[in-house]
Each structure stands twice: as C-alpha cells, then as structure tokens.
C-alpha cells in the first residue's frame, strides 16, 4: 500500500512538473511542410518535365491509337509557359511515316487568367511543320476502337457517299458502248420483273377486284325493286278523294308525308352509294394516269442501266470531275463538324429552352442565391490569342516554306466575340506547289455559325489524273498544271462554294477501242491546250446541288454530239417502244376493267335512283291531288252558298 502511495506521489509530482511552454506557431508542422514544398519544387525542376512528357505521349497514344513522340518539354511555372520540341504524330495507316511533325511549339500562358482557372495563351509559336515525314523507326500502333462518330457527321457522309455513287459513272466508257450499239432487249429481259409500271398495274388490278367484291356486298344492302313496290302499294292505299271531313284530309296528308320521308331516306342511301362509287372510279382512273409516270421512270432506269449518256457539257463535266470534288467536300465536312463541336456557336432561343427543360431538377436546399456583378475582365475557358505558324521546307515528303498566323482560337467564341482566323501563305517546293494563300475564318460568335475559306493555289501540278479509265476507253492527263481560286462559305447548314481551276500545260492520255471515239478524243486533245473547271456547290452536306462546268466538257460535247446524237435517240426510242409493248396489253386490260367496274356498278345504282325519284314524284302528286280535290270541293260549296245569297 505504502509502495503504491509512493508511486502515485511520484506520478503526481511528474504531472505537476511544469511543461516547457510552446510558442503560438506550430514550428514542428511548418518545418516538414517547408521540406515537402522544397521536395515538390525539386521534383518540378528535375523530373516534372520528363514525367509530363511521358504522360502526354501515353495519353496521346491511347487517344490517337498511334505512337506520339515528344523530344523535349519544358514547363515553367514562373513564366507560365510551355515549350515542346520534336512532336511527331505517327500516321495510323502508315506507321513508318508521321501524320504531322512539328519542330517547336511554345505557349505563353497568362497568369492573370490562370488565377481565374482559365487558360489564355498570349503568344504561341508553331514552327517547322512537316506532313508525312519519314520516321526513324515505325511508330507503335494500337488496335482501333469503335469510334463514336457524331450522327451529323455520319448523316452528311451518307449523303456524300450517295452523291459520289451518282457521279460514279464512266461517261466515255458508256459513250463507247453506245457507239458499238446498245441492245436494250437483254437488259429488259433481266429487269422485266422489276418494271415499276408492271408492278403498279398488278397493284391496281388487285385493288379493283377487292373493291368490286366490296361493292357487290354494298349493292345488296341498297333498296331493291320489291322495296319500291311495297312503297308504291303503301302510298296507293292512301285515300285521295271523297273525304267526309277535313280531319280525314289531314290524316291522308300525314300518311303521304310519312311515305315521302321513307322514299327520301332510301333515295339518300342510293345517292351516297352513287357518290362513293364516283369517288372510287376517280381514284382508279387517277392511279391509271400515274402509270404513265411509272413508264417514264422505267424508261429512265433502263437508260441508266444501258448507260446511255447525257451529252451536255455540264453532265460531261459532272461525270468527269464530280467524284473528285465530292471526295474533297467529304474531307471538309469532317473538319467543320469538329470545329462546331469544340467551338460551339451561340445557342438559339429554342436550343436554350430545350437545355433548360433538360436541366430542371429539384432545387437542392440551401443553395442560396448567386449575385452577379459586372465583369470587367472575363476569359473563356481556353483562348489562344495568337499563334505564329512558320515552316521551312526540308527533305520530308510534305514540307513547305510557310508563314502564317492563327488568332482567337477559343472554347467560347460567343463570350470572346471574335472569330478564329487562320492566315497561311507559302510554297511547297518538293510538291511543286507554289503561291498558296489561304484564309480560313471560323465565326461562331452568333447563333448562325459561319465558316469561310478563301484559297488561292497559284500553281499545283497534276500527275496521272485519269478522268475515264476502262477497257474501252482511257482518257485523262499524264501531267498538267492548275491554278485554283476558291471561296467557300458555310452558314448554318448551308454551303456555298465557288471555285475556278484553270488547267494548263496538258499532256493528254487518250485511247479508245472505238475508232470514232478515238478520233474524237484525239481531236479534243489536239485543240484544247487549256480549259477551266468552274465548281459551284450550294445546299447542305446532306442535300446539295453540284454545278460543274468545264471547257473540256464543252469540247467533248461539241465533238461527240454529232457522232452520237443519232445513236442515242435511236436507243431511247427503242427502249420506249419496248417498255410500252411490255405493258400495253396489261394497261388496256386494266382500262377495260375500270370501265366495266363503272358500268356494272353504276347502272343498278342509277336505276334505283331513277325509280325512287319517280315514286317520290308520284307520292307528291297524289298528295297534291288529294289536297286540291278537297280544296276544290270546299270552293264549290262556297260558290253554291254565295249563289243562294242575293243582294
């Protein structure tokens, strides 16, 4: 016990022993904190750049599915700048090449914006750009995942593909076929079952038969002769003379009215049936007339199957150059859709309302109210104020002497109120492309986004451009020089493209099995040493009108028209006659069926109508007769009475 007390006393003494007073600042925590900060600084000085570079390379590899390399990366917190050198993006389809290689990219960010959690690049430089440059070693490729393409892009691509199919033809090859003599019989035999007019004929015939059955049933329900006879007996039994008193007259009139009403109901029934029948006959006659349009369509389809060409300059130009132009349009549509996704234009009132409707959720408690004050300085989330672009030509496959600048690339063009503008000027000596000047303006500051492109390509060589290449005919150029001036705008969904390309220094390739065509092509090649191609595209990517005019088309038209017109007209006539003869018998049969239908069903209805109307008239007459006889009787009585009174 004493021992325990002693121990307690020692403990109490220990507890009472005054502790060393500590100051108000927690140095034991601050020192480790400072140490941690120093370590972070050292890490960012020595390792952050390389780790960030590797992270970007890895992220880009998974995003692009092909290797991306960065030679060096330098991130400076004090200057808020980023410098990247030797950026190489592997071409997914050709791993031994780079899709793009950029020598140096630098970004100077604004600290003022960063402190507001915004990324504003005051200055940027992108230099030494090379396209399709060779890689030292092939880049790593990852298997592509199913890309979630936007529906809009898919739709426009579907439309473009359909348009491409339309211009897929080989007009000179078709011309050669016609020159060798088109044989519509074989084709007609093949598509006999597919003739639209034939199908329509069968359809009308079947519907007519069904309708006839329907009408037979309906006719059975209409008033018959026996009904009319019963009605006649009924009104004939009504007293029309020898009335004893006015009450008897009244009774007869009432009976007449009742029978008249009955006859009227029956007449209405018959009349309705008559007008319904008229409607049906009209429908079938109309369908019969539509047949003629089907025949025309069948003729057109057959002409297409037989590849009978339309020999006008515009069509020739479209068939020769259409596919090339649509291929290019497809590429632009992809970029425009991308720009609209990442640089969204101002939302219309409807879109805003829709979004608001989507966003309606039960308001959380205690959210308070956010007061807004005038914003003197506000930045969009991302804003690249100015980027200088420059490049010097090198040994790479596609490199050039380029100078230009890109201004106002932003994630919120509406807030910034300035359009993105890219100006580029330069030459690509290796590709022998000179005098390129491009100005791209992307204006997404309003509800209706507008993208414009002004392009001048001073001199672009064309090598091996085959406009028509088949067994029967080969036509194109081994080489040529072109100069293009183009202006394109896209406002909302409306495209407007005007481009003029001048082809000069033409070295033609012309070969045809048909001697006539060979002669025509050789003549064109000899006389035409330059021509222009005027392209006009209007409409939207999903529905556009392509207008193509070219001097080459005109020259081909002039030379081919004389040779081919007669053959083409002959083939067309032959096709028409063949289609007509195929369906003429069936057509006449249908016509007579419709006439019979009208006659067969119309006659009993009209008969019944006439009979009921006659009965109605008889009733009316008997009623009048009864009333008049009684009237006369009263008048005579009155006269007799007046005679007895002498004044």
């Amino acid at each position: 016990m004493t021992e325990d007390n002693n121990q307690n006393q020692v403990e109490d003494a220990k507890a009472k022993k005054p502790k060393k007073k500590k100051g108000p600042i927690r140095f034991e925590a601050i020192i480790p904190l400072v140490l941690v900060l120093v370590l972070i600084s050292l890490y960012s000085m020595f390792f952050l750049d390389s780790h960030l570079r590797r992270a970007i390379e890895l992220g880009a590899l998974y995003a692009h599915r092909a290797e991306v390399n960065i030679k060096s990366l330098n991130l400076s917190f004090t200057n808020a700048s980023l410098v990247m050198t030797g950026l190489q993006v592997t071409n997914y389809d050709k791993p031994e090449e780079n899709l793009v290689e950029i020598g140096r990219i630098s970004f100077d960010l604004s600290w003022d914006a960063l402190l507001r959690a915004k990324f504003v690049v005051d200055n940027s430089e992108i230099t030494s750009i090379q396209i399709n440059s060779k890689r030292k070693r092939p880049g790593r490729i990852l298997e592509k995942t199913k890309s979630a393409e936007k529906v809009g892009t898919q739709l426009s691509n579907v439309a473009l593909d359909a348009a491409k199919d339309e211009y897929e033809g080989n007009i000179l090859g078709d011309t050669a076929t016609v020159l060798s003599g088109a044989k519509p019989e074989d084709q007609l035999k093949k598509i006999e079952g597919d003739l639209k007019a034939s199908g329509k004929l069968k359809e009308i015939e079947k519907a007519l038969k069904d309708k006839e059955k329907e009408w037979q049933k309906r006719l059975a329900t209409l008033p018959k002769d026996s009904d009319l006879k019963a009605l006649e007996t009924k009104f004939k039994s009504i007293k029309t003379s020898n009335f004893k008193n006015p009450a008897e007259v009244q009774k007869s009139v009432k009976a007449f009215e009742q029978v008249f009403k009955e006859a009227d109901t029956k007449l209405k029934e018959v009349k309705t049936a008559g007008s319904d029948l008229d409607k049906d006959i009209k429908t079938y006659k109309g369908a019969f007339n539509e047949l003629e349009q089907m025949v025309q369509k069948d003729i057109k389809d057959l002409e297409k199957r037989l590849n009978i060409p339309k020999l006008d300059a515009q069509n020739i130009s479209k068939m020769l150059f259409g596919k090339i132009i649509i291929d290019k349009l497809g590429k632009y549509s992809k970029w425009i859709n991308m720009a609209r996704e990442y640089m969204p234009p101002k939302k219309s009132a409807d879109e805003k309302a829709a979004k608001k409707e989507e966003a309606i959720t039960p308001k959380e408690r205690a959210l308070g109210r956010n007061y807004t004050f005038p914003k003197a300085k506000s930045y969009p989330l991302f804003w690249l104020k100015k980027a200088k672009i420059s490049s010097k030509s090198s040994d790479a496959e596609f490199s050039g002497d380029l100078e230009g600048e890109l201004v106002h690339v932003t994630s919120n063009p509406v807030l910034l109120g300035k359009p993105t503008v890219l100006n580029l000027k330069g030459d690509f000596p290796k590709q022998k492309i000179f005098g390129m000047e491009a100005k791209v303006t992307i204006d997404h500051t309003t509800e209706k986004p507008i993208e414009t492109l002004d392009l001048v390509l001073g001199r672009v060589p064309v090598e091996k451009m085959m406009l028509s290449d088949s067994e029967d005919v080969s036509f194109g150029f081994n080489s040529a020089q072109t100069r293009t001036v183009a202006k394109a705008t896209m406002q909302g969904q409306e495209i407007n493209l005007n481009a003029t390309t001048l082809f000069t220094q033409l070295d033609y390739v012309n070969k045809a099995k048909s001697p006539i065509l060979n002669e025509v092509l050789a003549g064109v090649a000899k006389d035409l040493n330059k021509f222009d191609l005027v392209t006009k595209v209007t409409g939207s990517f999903s529905k556009f009108n392509l207008g193509l005019k070219s001097g080459l088309g005109q020259a081909l038209q002039n030379s081919l028209k004389k040779q081919l017109d007669q053959q083409i007209q002959k083939a067309r006539k032959q096709i028409k006659e063949m289609v007509d003869s195929k369906i003429k018998g069936e057509k006449d049969k249908l016509q007579s069926q419709i006439n019979q239908f009208e006659k067969k069903l119309g006659a009993p209805i009209n008969n019944a109508k006439g009979k009921i109307e006659g009965t109605k008239k008889n009733i009316e007459d008997s009623k009048k007769k009864a009333v008049n006889s009684e009237k006369k009787k009263i008048e005579n009585k009155a006269k007799d009475l007046l005679k007895g009174i002498k004044f």
Binding site: G23, P24, I30, A366, G368, N370, F373, P374
Partner: protein, 174 residues
C-alpha cells in the same frame, strides 16, 4: 451513429486531457467557422492553413466543425437573408464588383448569399465562441473533472494494475 459517438468520445477525451484551454477554445472557434461555411471554398483552405500554422487544437477544430455543420444546416435560411442583405448594400457594390473581377477571390464564392451570410455570422461570432469555450472548458475541468478525480471510485480505478498499464501505454504511444 457510430461516427457521432466516436466524435463525442474524442471530444470528451480532449476536454479531460492536459491540453491547454486556449488552443482547445481556438480550435472550437475555427471549427465554428469551418462548420458554418456551406461548402469547400477558399476560406476553408485559409482556416485549415491557420490551423496548421498556429498552435490550435486541430482535433477540437474538426470535431467542432462536425457538430457545427448540423446547426449551420438549420440556420441556412438565416444566413441567406443576412448574406442577401450584405450583398445588396448599394455602397458596397463597387467593392464587390472589384472583388468579383479579381483573380482567386471569386473562388471564395463570396457572391453567394449563404456563403456571405455564414462568413459574416461565423467571423463575427468566432471571438465570442472562443471566449465562451474557454470559460466553459475551464469550468468543466474545475467542477467536473477535478471533482471526479477526487472520488473514491476514480482513486480505486487509478490504483488498479490495469490502469497503470494503460497509463504507461498511453503516455508512450499516444
């Protein structure tokens, strides 16, 4: 429920410990500010930095914040009206506009009525919470803890070998 009980026990443990009254009261005052702030914002970071730099009882601050959050939850309508009144002072609009356009400051969400109301109330009341906590802790220690330590029951417990073992364990590892 388990979490609340744990917090209560920790708080009682703190009150009964040797911790000085000042840091404990300061911790509670800081916890009061933290608890009243509706969401994580820049002022929360500032209070945490103060906690970290100065000798303020962190446990008390976090326990305080935990409990004050419940009161703040109920006081939100009051904070909203106070905050709205403050933000609508015509003469202050110039200052608010400047603050709104400054970097970093908008992260405090000062333009929100509840954030502003809770900040005004908590900062104004923090000194009173500090003084009141100091008085109450001192009184609690004097009237409850000391009296309890004088009881035979406590003395008996202190005499047990289990307590001695726990005491030495606690002084070594706590």
């Amino acid at each position: 429920m388990g979490l609340i009980l744990k917090q209560i026990f920790q708080f009682i443990k703190l009150l009964n410990s040797d911790t000085e009254t000042g840091p404990l009261a300061a911790g509670l005052a800081c916890g009061f500010i933290l608890g009243m702030t509706p969401s994580f914002s820049l002022q929360t970071v500032l209070v945490i930095l103060i906690l970290f730099t100065f000798r303020i009882q962190m446990g008390a601050a976090f326990i305080g914040a935990f409990f004050f959050k419940f009161i703040a939850f109920m006081l939100d309508p009051v904070f909203h009206s106070i905050g709205s009144a403050v933000l609508e002072i015509e003469g202050m609009k110039g200052l608010y506009t400047s603050l709104y356009n400054m970097p970093i400051i908008p992260f405090t969400r000062f333009n929100n009525s509840i954030v502003m109301g809770s900040a005004v109330v908590s900062i104004l009341l923090a000194p009173f919470v500090y003084i009141l906590s100091r008085i109450l802790i001192a009184k609690y220690r004097k009237t409850v803890v000391e009296r309890f330590q004088q009881t035979k029951f406590w003395k008996a417990i202190k005499a047990t070998s289990f307590y001695k073992w726990y005491h030495s364990y606690n002084s070594l590892y706590n």
